[in-house]
C-alpha cells in the first residue's frame, strides 16, 4: 500500500519549480548574450567614429592653431584699428554713413557711440591638440 506513495517520479514532475527556473535561466543567458552583441556593435561604431574624428583633428589642429594665433596677434588688432578709424571718419563725414550702415557700423550721432562693433570678437584660445596614443 505504501509502495505507491514512495514511487519515484521524473524530476520535472517532482519539482515544477526547477523546470521554470531552468527555463528562466536560459532566457536570462540568451538576453545577456544579445545585449553583449548589441553593446559590442556600439563599441565598434564608437571606435571607428573616434578614430575618424581623431585623424581629422590631428590634420586640422596644427594649421588651425597657427592660423588662430596669427589672427589674434596681427590681423585682429589691425582690423579693429582700421574699423575704429573708419568709424571716427564716419562721424565727421556723413556721406560715408551708407558704407558704415552696410557693415552694421552705425554711429549714434547723438552720443557718437558705435552701435555695433564690426569684427566679431577674436576667437578663444584654440583647443589643445589631440592626444596621441
Amino acid at each position: 500500500m505504501d509502495s505507491f506513495d514512495n514511487k519515484p517520479s521524473s524530476p520535472a514532475e517532482a519539482n515544477p519549480l526547477q523546470a521554470q527556473y531552468d527555463a528562466l535561466q536560459h532566457m536570462v543567458v540568451s538576453i545577456l548574450i544579445l545585449v553583449i552583441v548589441i553593446s559590442g556593435t556600439l563599441n565598434i561604431y564608437f571606435l571607428r567614429q573616434w578614430r575618424t574624428v581623431s585623424k581629422d583633428l590631428a590634420a586640422v589642429s596644427p594649421q588651425a592653431t597657427k592660423m588662430i594665433a596669427d589672427y589674434q596677434k596681427t590681423s585682429a588688432p589691425a582690423m579693429n584699428d582700421f574699423v575704429k578709424k573708419i568709424i571716427e571718419f564716419g562721424r565727421t563725414h556723413p556721406d560715408f554713413a551708407p558704407v558704415l550702415t552696410k557693415y552694421n557700423l552705425q554711429v549714434d550721432t547723438s552720443t557718437g557711440a558705435t552701435v555695433s562693433p564690426p569684427a566679431s570678437p577674436a576667437p578663444t584660445a584654440p583647443a589643445p591638440a589631440p592626444k596621441k596614443k
Binding site: Q18, G40, N43, Q49, V60, A64, K85, V99, Y103
Partner: protein, 94 residues
Amino acid sequence: MKNNPLPRVLLGVLLVSALASVVLCWLYISNTRQLRTLQGQLNIINNNRTVMATLANDALEYSKKNPAIDPILESVGLKPAKTGTPAATKPATK
C-alpha cells in the same frame, strides 16, 4: 538548484562592454567638440577677413570721390602713401 556561473560571467562581460562604450563615447564626443570648436573659430576668422576685405574695397571706392579718407587707407597700407615728392612715390625695394 544548480548554481550556474554562466550568467555571472556574461554579466561581467556586459559590464566591461558597457564601460568601454561609455569611454569610447566620451572620447568621440570630446574630439568632435574640439574639431567643431576649431572649425567654428576658423569660420569666424575667414568671415571677418571677407567682411574686412569688402569694407576696404568700399573705402577705396569712396576714396575716389572723397580723398579725405586717404590717410586712413594709407595708415593701414591699403593705399600707397603720398608724400608729395616724386622720389617718395617709388615703391621701396628691399
